[in-house]
């Protein structure tokens, strides 16, 4: 029994943290996706984290990804770290060990930083990082399709977090045949990839929540009202204490989910769901509490807090929100919900 990032994961996370500490200050994060920063991240292996060594990647797992995604959240990096990992998992299955073919080519391009990916597991919803993606993976039933961005008719869509660079992939929605079929019979691989996305998003949310908390503790220590810093008031202290508690108890669930994913344990689906429940709830709590403690200034674009607020408002619902995953755990624990979901549309 050992629950904690291992030393390699800690070292890897530290190098990502150092890189983003230099290259992704709030003023950089504000400017959105940076090809230069992506290249730097590729230099230390981030986009190829889950790409097998055979294709030039590091062949690591969800444990490393969680450590890295937490740093991406902490720095509010607007790069598609989660999407690269999910694409790597999907393409690895589709390539099925072969050295040639489109899936293998894209795996190599991912690993060397030459291409960024967007992933549309749920075709009707807007797709994150589609606007600057080089290729797009699309799931339809149990098949995986892919297409170069140039062929995909990607329409930028406004969103609460400009750093997500949302796009709607019209081609796919209207004519899935226009995309290249990469593999069929991918049902299990698609479900696994969705879990990986949820775990990575959960880790990102922990980093984002902690960054908001740190900003807010600093602000509360600086801001004076009624002759003392607002951080001395119990109403402020207790709110932020609850945020810390939520973050700290969410983290081990994310580590466990990553471990279950990497070892393909029978509880992997439930563990991923649980991690996203705790991380989304912690980040939502952090967003509301930190905005409240900042007061009006938190409500302005010029305040750095707004970068993370936007990120959390989007990411806490992406890859399944807390209610979605809570219901999944309930189904697993208590038997299926007698109230079926609405029919798929």
């Amino acid at each position: 029994m050992r629950l904690g990032h291992d030393r390699d994961q800690q070292l890897f996370a530290a190098s990502v943290r150092a890189l983003l500490g230099r290259e992704c200050m709030p003023e950089h994060a504000r400017a959105g996706f940076s090809p230069k920063r992506w290249e730097a991240l590729a230099g230390i292996g981030v986009p190829g984290l889950l790409v097998p060594g055979q294709y030039g990647g590091l062949g690591l797992g969800a444990g490393e990804l969680a450590a890295v995604a937490e740093e991406a959240g902490r720095a509010c990096a607007p790069e598609p770290v989660i999407e690269a990992a999910v694409a790597a998992a999907l393409l690895t299955h589709a390539a099925d060990g072969k050295d040639t073919g489109r899936a293998a080519d894209w795996l190599r391009a991912l690993a060397d930083g030459g291409a960024t990916a967007a992933v549309a597991l749920c075709p009707a919803a807007p797709v994150a990082h589609a606007v600057h993606a080089d290729f797009v993976l699309v799931a339809r039933d149990d098949a995986l399709y892919g297409m170069p961005a140039a062929a995909a008719r990607i329409v930028p869509v406004g969103g609460v977090d400009p750093g997500r660079a949302l796009g709607r992939i019209d081609t796919v929605v209207r004519a899935p045949g226009a995309a290249l079929l990469l593999a069929t019979g991918q049902g299990a691989a698609l479900a696994e990839a969705a879990r990986l996305g949820a775990i990575a998003a959960a880790a990102d949310l922990l980093g984002s929540a902690r960054a908001m908390l740190d900003l807010t503790v600093q602000y509360a220590g600086r801001r004076e009202q009624f002759g003392r810093s607002i951080g001395t008031y119990q109403a402020v202290k207790h709110k932020l204490a609850d945020v810390l508690t939520a973050i700290e108890f969410a983290r081990p669930t994310v580590l466990r989910a990553a471990h279950s994913y990497d070892h393909a344990l029978p509880s992997a689906a439930r563990d991923a769901a649980m991690a996203k429940v705790f991380a989304s709830d912690a980040a939502d709590l952090a967003a509301r509490a930190c905005l409240q403690v900042h007061g009006a200034i938190g409500y302005t674009e010029e305040c750095d807090l707004s970068l993370w607020l936007r990120r959390v408002w989007a990411l806490s619902s992406a890859w399944g929100d807390a209610a979605h995953h809570r219901a999944a755990v309930a189904d697993d624990l208590l038997g299926p919900d007698p109230a079926p979901a609405c029919p798929p549309r």
Partner: protein, 409 residues
Amino acid sequence: MDRLLYLTLCQIMLARVTDLAFTVAEEDFRCEIREWLAAHVPREPLPSMDTAEGFRAHQEWERELYDAGWAVVGWPARYGGRDASLFEWLIFEEEYWRSGAPGRVGQNGIFLFAPTLFEYGTEEQKNRILPPMARGEQIWVQGWSEPGAGSDLAALRSRAVRDERRGGWVLSGQKTWSSRGAFGHRLFGLFRTDPAAGRHRGLTYLMADLAADGVSVRPIRQLDGEPGFAEVFLDDVFVPDADVLGEPGQGWNVAMSTTGSERGLSLRSPGRFLAAADRLVALYGQVRAGTTPGRRTPDTYRDAVADAWMRAEAYRLYVFQTVTRLQEGGVVVGAESSLNKVFWSELDADLHTTAQRLLGPHAETGGPWLDGYLFALAGPIYAGTNEIQRNVIAERLLGMEREPKGGRR
């Protein structure tokens, strides 16, 4: 018994029986405004009032309301109103928000400043200021907060220095979080006229022209991307005596009457939340039916939707109770408005959070629900943070002791 006295007594007794129906006249009033709105509310939403274009469009809408007699129903007719009762005003608000009519660009003037003006203004001030406010020609901007004075309003430092020669005051300092400051015309607020006096003393309630010499305005972008706030810098701005409201040095008392109305009835009538709750119920149905893209499991939020709707109803009933007391000559203490403020602001935040959850993965792409969500999250902050309101509730309504002083100043 004298027949007139008998009838009067009957009326008093009747009036004091619980009766949750409106009168025929009130129902007629409701029909009238409902029909007018159905015919006149723009089909397409106006652009945001925090853009130059939208600001003008909203001013035009205010003029249209005014011309039809709906701009300020509760005001005396001589200033542009129609002498409506408080219940009629509540009915107007219910219908107004239910119809999807545009937000009120003049709201800070009409709902925050005007009540103070009615209480403290001279006849000259009322005649000069109220009609153009009602017509939407002059949009008023609040000048309360300063960089160092938010929740702690009494810490403000902007100054007004007496200018005997010109017969007025010279303002200097900085105001912030002034809604509509980017496009509005005139500012009302508090200024320190006696720096030697204590925190709440030596303040004066003044008005200033935002086009005057020495005023500069810096718009601040909000989370929705629009300059809904502004900072207002005042550098030796002259204001004549005619633009002092109430007595010099009495500004705190004058202002408290405004913040009382702000948190009380006038800023956030139940109509706004009733309309939002009805839209939420409709959204649930649409998501369930698949006519609006949303989460696949809307039933998870059944209870939350019902709760939001019930809380909007409860707020409505609470306000009916308050107005009943007011009409029967009861005293409604200012601190009760803190209960209101906490209740509606948390209701609004939770209601819009539920809407976002119903939209699920589609929530982040924006639209009216996202705008409403961002605005609702500001509710627990503006008009006195809910932390301050809870202090007021505990200290003034429950009689709990204040925290001991002991700051470092």
